[in-house]
Amino acid sequence: MKNITANMAGTVLSLLVQAGDTVSSGQDVILLESMKMEVPIQAQADGKIAEVKVSAGDFVNEGDVILVLE
């Protein structure tokens, strides 16, 4: 199991992936709103998504787990 974490604090605007999707490192996985800007957050590893830990409207801190890979 590998975790994908947010590298910045912000509010989740939208999810660009869902459980079951395969992601590769560097791919945009969620869109955050931080300091009045839309900021895409990228996966830090390759794998298949086992669980999405956040939903739109949630606030995440830097380092919070957003996705769990199988």
């Binding site: 910045m8 604090a9 931080s34 300091m35 009045k36 800007m37 900021v39 830097e62």
Partner: protein
């Protein structure tokens, strides 16, 4: 006026508190949960909690703001910039609650907030506007038909737009067709209004604005210009005055046009008329900001005036204690905006400031909203400070600004301080030769060099 509630936060709240104190007026701050440790809360005479961090539930909550003013027994509200400052409904609600809104009447805010209406008023008053089409554009084909009469390149804009959102340059029919639906969709999503219009696109433009002040006795003055062409994502980064691009004749013309623009809407308060200027120094009305600007300290350091004091006087019904001939550029002033962002990518960088040491030097003014230990919140604007530097010449001001930036220490978050230093060191900037494309061009040069 004895007690003013400041419906804002950060550096501008502190700035307003300073003038209130000088005038013996009590200042009331409001703060969200994210801001309770911020210096402006501590420095106000009183501070009231207004809600959770998101602005919709705190600094944009009109009911909560009016209630806070009533609870504190304030008799006036200063809206600062951004947030509720250009919200006509808020201005109206203040007045209805018996509170003095420190700004123009609600009707003026509403007419200048709608770009199509503002353009029409200015055109009728003889203020030059960019040639364009102001009617409703419903479909891409209608837009293409109108474009033929105007000629490309054109700028497609949203009437309710701001901050560059819903704005796009189009160079032919095909680009206009492609851009139309998406721009309209974005305008609807962001502003709840998808009225679009077309303007001739001004190539290599400069953004030059004029500060004005008008009282309730019919006095309307300009306080000279500010050159604001150094921008990224349509957000200003460096401003200065006098503009290195203007000759005296053009300066007089543009300042006179700004006074005419303010008179055309029976403006009261301080405000700014923004113009776009082409390479031949022809200028056109862009929009009017019916509030104090972020960059107002440039005018203050250049002229020696206190713009917040002028705002308070006007709101009290006093005449402006100045004549046009008293307004002089005594010094050259430059403002550099410090953003909590990556200096390479301009991506935001919220987080805790672990060390904070602003420069303390003569002729250097720091308007900041933060200190060591503060959490720079992802809920608000990334601008954390402004460095305002003046000199007897532009060269002296630029050299001092470079020293000030070199001495500024902020650790724990990324800031654009290194980027600002690059701007000051740039040969074109030093020559005063730049347009609104300066940053974009500089960055493309930089990525080619890598």
């Amino acid at each position: 006026m004895q007690k003013v509630l400041i419906a804002n936060r950060g550096e501008i709240a502190r700035r307003i508190i300073r003038t209130c104190r000088k005038q013996g007026v009590a200042a009331v701050a409001v703060y969200s949960d994210a801001d309770k440790e911020m210096p402006f809360v501590r420095e106000a005479d009183e501070a009231l909690h207004i809600g959770p961090p998101p602005v919709a539930q705190s600094y944009l909550n009109i009911d909560a703001m009016i209630k806070a003013a009533q609870t504190a027994g304030a008799d006036a509200i200063h809206p600062g910039y951004g947030l509720l400052s250009e919200n006509a409904v808020f201005a109206e609600r203040c007045t209805a609650a018996g509170l003095t809104f420190i700004g123009p009447p609600a009707g003026v805010i509403a007419s200048m907030g709608d770009k199509v209406t503002a353009r029409r008023i200015m055109r009728e008053a003889g203020v030059p506007v960019v040639p364009g089409f102001e009617g409703q554009l419903e479909t891409a084909e209608e837009a293409v038909a109108k474009a033929q009469g105007l000629g490309y390149p054109l700028m497609l804009k949203a009437s309710a737009g701001g901050g560059g959102i819903g704005m796009q340059v189009v160079r032919d029919d095909e680009e206009l067709r492609r851009a139309f639906q998406s721009a309209k969709g974005r305008a609807k999503a962001y502003f709840g209004n998808d009225t679009m219009f077309l303007e001739k696109y001004v190539e290599n433009p400069r953004h030059i604005e004029v500060q004005i002040a008008a009282d309730q006795h019919g006095n309307c003055l300009h306080l000279l210009e500010r050159e604001c062409s150094i921008q990224r994502r349509h957000q200003k980064v460096v401003e200065e005055s006098p503009s290195p691009f203007l000759d005296q004749e053009t300066r007089e013309k543009i300042c006179r046009a700004a006074v005419e623009a303010a008179r055309a809407v029976a403006y009261t308060g301080v405000g700014t008329v923004e113009f776009i200027m082409d390479e031949q120094k022809k200028f056109y009305f862009l929009e009017m900001n019916t509030r104090l600007q972020v960059e107002h300290p440039v005018t203050e350091e250049m002229t020696g005036l206190d713009l917040v004091a002028i705002q308070l006087d006007i709101a009290r019904g006093l005449p402006i204690p100045l004549k046009q001939e008293d307004v002089k550029a005594l010094r050259h002033a430059i403002e550099l905006r410090v953003y909590a962002e990556d200096p390479q990518t301009f991506m935001p960088s919220p987080g805790r400031i672990v060390r904070y040491q602003p420069p303390v030097m003569p002729h250097v003014r720091i308007d900041d909203g933060v200190e060591a230990g503060i959490q720079v919140s992802p809920f608000y604007d990334p601008m954390i400070a402004k460095v305002i530097v003046s000199g007897t010449t532009r060269g002296e001001a630029v050299a001092r600004a470079a020293e000030a930036l070199a001495a500024y220490q902020i650790d724990g978050i990324k800031t654009n301080l290194p980027f600002l230093q690059e701007v000051l060191a740039d040969a074109d900037f030093q020559a005063g030769d730049y347009t609104t494309q300066f940053i974009e061009r500089k960055n493309s040069k930089r990525s080619v060099g890598q």
